[in-house]
Symmetry: C2
Subunit: 151 residues, 2 copies
């Protein structure tokens, strides 16, 4: 895509535009801290006990992967008015593991100007959260409220 | 629903079964702390600046609402083998606000025994995250991997 302006508004976006984030290093302590607060299950909090579970080893909560993805998007998708999600769908095709380095690739799938509110539109994007081997740990398709450039 | 056993397996579930969580009190400090780490945008981190935004006041990150919902589910849906999400869809029909008391209502929508793996199935649930006025802050429909009772 062309060099990005500092701030992107609805009229600057085209279907197929891509945004690539920086990297996020994830270690066991972060995985366990998040899980103790929000998803306290042995496969997310206890590396030893996790061996005997579905995940066969410590895995990050899917919601942790989602939260990290949001951070990567905030840093790399410079939408005027901010990143405001109305909803979306999530898949976690493989676990996020301690030691993973995550990055997000976001692609514009659809742009729908609002009929009732001319200052905004709904933009559908697909964001893949990739690990250091380029494997997809999360696929997120989301509808975002994107503002037009203020007059 | 009937009194819940300590642990629920695939064969214990029926379409229409409901689980109701306890409550989670959310204050401004928690909202700001989560957002600084994962969703650093003014409407989630700065009550003053948030007034001038889409949200017209401080709102929790949708991913914070999702993470809190997971905690409420872990405490109230006693699945043997744990709560393991394969994916799902999310909507945030209204913001979660400082001072909200959240609770989750989870309902079984569909149960599909696995053909290839007889020890498990995929259970689709709908979880509404409600505030203290009974308004829905999040609707989550998720597919979970649920294990049968071990032989």
């Amino acid at each position: 895509m062309p060099p990005q302006p500092a701030t992107v508004y609805l009229e600057d976006l085209s279907v197929g535009d891509e945004f690539r984030s920086g990297e996020y290093q994830l270690d066991e302590d972060q995985i366990v801290a998040f899980a103790r607060e929000f998803d306290p299950q042995p496969f997310h909090t206890d590396g030893e006990a996790a061996q005997q579970t579905f995940f066969q080893g410590l895995a990050a909560s899917g919601w942790h992967t989602a939260a990290i993805t949001m951070k990567l998007l905030v840093q790399s998708v410079p939408l005027g008015g901010g990143l405001i999600g109305a909803g979306g769908s999530l898949e976690w095709p493989r676990p996020t593991r301690p030691g993973d380095t995550l990055r997000a690739h976001c692609r514009v799938l659809e742009i729908k100007p609002s009929r009732s509110k001319p200052d905004r539109g709904i933009v559908t994007t697909e964001t893949l959260t990739l690990n250091q081997r380029g494997e997809t740990c999360q696929r997120l398709v989301t509808q975002m409220v994107v503002m037009r450039r203020p007059a």
